[in-house]
Symmetry: C2
């Protein structure tokens, strides 16, 4: 490994209120971006990123740069040939670990670098990450996972059993994924900053585009939310699922009260009703608002908290994020945990490049872990895909698989130049 | 507010294995240090820091620097006259919040800046922070606290009741603290890197110095731990409490097994048996090893996790840290939560300057919140105090109150110069 380059890339999304919700009124979607280079002579690079929403992307970029000594100088095979060991090496540096452990800025930096290593490994294998993962043996998959703090809920032996049980039919499922993709739902209609007219138009378009589920941001004002839910329900009809998303806005009692006020519009789930750290509050809310489901995960910091959400019966839906926990490896652990508890995984996406990455994880889950797409769909948001070399695409409400080898994390060089902060032309102008 | 200066200060403690434990073999105790300046013309500055153990202190320093725009330019009164509002303003910047929320590097940066603001406010008031806090009305204390995500366990009204119940006798308790200080226990004997001879000698010295409790690091090797516990128990006799500290080393089953193997030496508590994120695992361990107590908190990220540890009956002892959660304000919330649940607070200290800070919080707790020192003691480690202007001191096993106005966070200018990383003389030499 010859170089780790870290770049501060920001998109001025706050100008149009794309991405506005109850807690995040004016995000500038950003990526703390990393490029890994080697002297293998094949011209292949590993690309990865942490997603942020603007301020602080410089701190995130500095955290990625702090991992340079743990990467540069390693033999290539110690990285792409031992992705489990490489990942654990980053997580267990004792000094950096103090800054978490396994949470926040430092863990997101590890995520970016681990994902970049997967991008590199998959490019070298000539496969998209999901297929590279799906062709591993159960033993090889288990070796990717750090079972520390998991053994009261999931042992390596239990993980092997889950993976072995999914072996029959794997080839057929892979072929079906390549043919038909994977279910998607869309958040495009529902941003809090959109007018009623735009909401209604986008709801109708979502149905016409083949989606069977949409999502609305809620939590600003309950009367506004009731009006917006009524508009959305009228526009999509009774058979389309409407997820709602409060982005951590509430304590337990207001969450219950608010969702009861929306219940007549048949919300499918409430996402992030409260703090992502609050396992017990999610459990209390879930119990109080059933049959409305409870979903969370985009801000859940690591496998330890996901484990507890499952142990406590706190969620109906696990929402993994591609770049917040420690990258592919920790997400494999979370997929296995969810399979153990029989809870479906519906990944968080949107932001910058999260749709591109997360489809790999769900397709691997379908191929080799849970073996089913029942109750499962990946979020789709139609922002910023044009900047990626292998952009996420949806057809008839289903994600298409990646077209190129790698993790689909690589941005076009012209985008990296234009949106470089603060010196790229997009920011110098403003 | 005219300036926020952020400094990377590191002490080469790894050279002597001071601070070595089962998860942290070679720490270089460090401070991401902040100085707030004003144009008030009184020459007073606010000092604060986040404690780290070496690598990554640059990332932590960058995170503090990222808060500059939220401080510089504010009217002084918006900071020192509204410490609740100032603190919430840092926590709720929507873009920076994405990097946590309220955890890890960004939250520790907020801690440093909030604590520096308290240092400044207390210097301006001519009082140590604990007395400044203790003289506030219950309403003023409640206004310091962010109750978001707490209301299922603690409402503002309940907090007021707790504080009002502690009003009688407050003046007498303050006078007694000034006279007699606050109970301490010592971790000095028990670092994992010390020889048996050094362990035994330091245990005897601790008893001679008046301590009624010492602490041993455990979790490296169970036979070594049994030998070291036997040495320590023999050296201190049956009446001195011996805390043990595994620094997050175990899963549930090994924690239980290991502590049963140490039970014959009568350990008082096991600290950090497992991940600080794992409320349910702490609850399971506590149930299995009673009457050995379970303690945690130095790595607990925020009030939401402390709340759950208390709700789940997962801990016998709450260990607050002065500089990991969001500073004085969030620690006031945690003191109130612990009082609500009737669980004693025994702060984590050591590191760089944590002893200096945390005595203020326990003395405030005794004066105005719990009103008792029963079952309570502050950790004391005899490292690095010489670099502080108002160093922590212990006499007859009790912490002395701060001698100067402020939060005791200010390091001597010559220490800041000498240990500046990487350009200070201490590091240029090495």
């Amino acid at each position: 490994m010859t170089a780790l380059e870290a770049l501060d890339i920001r998109f001025p999304t706050s100008r149009d209120l794309d991405g506005s919700d109850a807690m995040n009124p004016d995000p500038d979607y950003s990526a703390a971006y990393v490029v890994l280079r080697t002297d293998a002579g094949d011209g292949l690079e590993g690309h990865g990123f942490a997603f942020t929403i603007g301020r602080g992307n410089d701190v995130q970029t500095a955290a990625i740069k702090a991992l340079e000594p743990f990467v540069v100088g390693l033999p290539l095979e110690r990285v792409v040939g031992d992705l489990g060991g490489f990942s654990r090496g980053l997580v267990y540096d004792s000094q950096l670990r103090w800054l978490g452990p396994e949470k926040g800025v430092m863990h997101m930096a590890i995520s970016a670098v681990v994902n970049a290593a997967w991008d590199l490994a998959a490019k070298r294998a000539g496969l998209p990450v999901w297929k590279l993962l799906a062709q591993l043996t159960p033993e090889q998959v288990v070796d990717l996972v750090d079972f520390r703090y998991l053994s009261d809920a999931l042992t390596p032996e239990e993980a092997l059993d889950i993976l072995r049980a999914a072996e029959p039919g794997k080839a057929e499922r892979i072929a079906r994924i390549e043919r038909e993709g994977y279910p998607a739902y869309t958040t495009t209609p529902g941003w809090l900053g959109y007018s009623d007219e735009k909401l209604e138009r986008l709801c109708r378009e979502a149905v016409a585009d083949g989606y069977s589920m949409i999502k609305l941001k809620v939590g600003g004002n309950v009367e506004d939310d009731r009006r917006r839910m009524r508009i959305a329900r009228t526009a999509v009809g009774p058979d389309i699922r409407i997820g709602t998303d409060a982005n951590q806005r509430w304590d337990v009692a207001p969450a219950v009260e608010w969702m009861r006020a929306l219940a007549e519009f048949d919300p499918y789930w409430i996402e992030e009703p409260t703090s992502p750290d609050d396992v017990l509050a999610h459990a209390a809310i879930r119990k109080a608002i059933a049959p409305i489901k409870v979903a969370t995960g985009e801000h859940v910091q690591n496998r330890v908290v996901f484990k507890q959400l499952l142990q406590a019966g706190a969620v109906d839906v696990v929402q993994i994020d591609a770049a917040r926990v420690g990258g592919v490896n920790e997400n494999v652990a979370i997929l296995l945990l969810a399979a153990k508890f029989g809870v479906p995984v519906c990944p968080h996406a949107g932001g910058v490049g999260l749709c591109e990455l997360v489809r790999h994880l769900s397709m691997f889950d379908l191929a080799a872990v849970s073996g089913t797409e029942e109750g499962r769909a990946i979020e789709y948001v139609d922002h910023l895909h044009e900047h990626f070399l292998d952009p996420a695409g949806v057809r008839d409400g289903r994600y298409l698989p990646a077209a190129l080898p790698g993790f689909s994390a690589e941005m076009r060089p012209e985008a990296l130049a234009r949106f470089s902060f603060p010196d790229g032309p997009e920011w110098r102008m403003s």
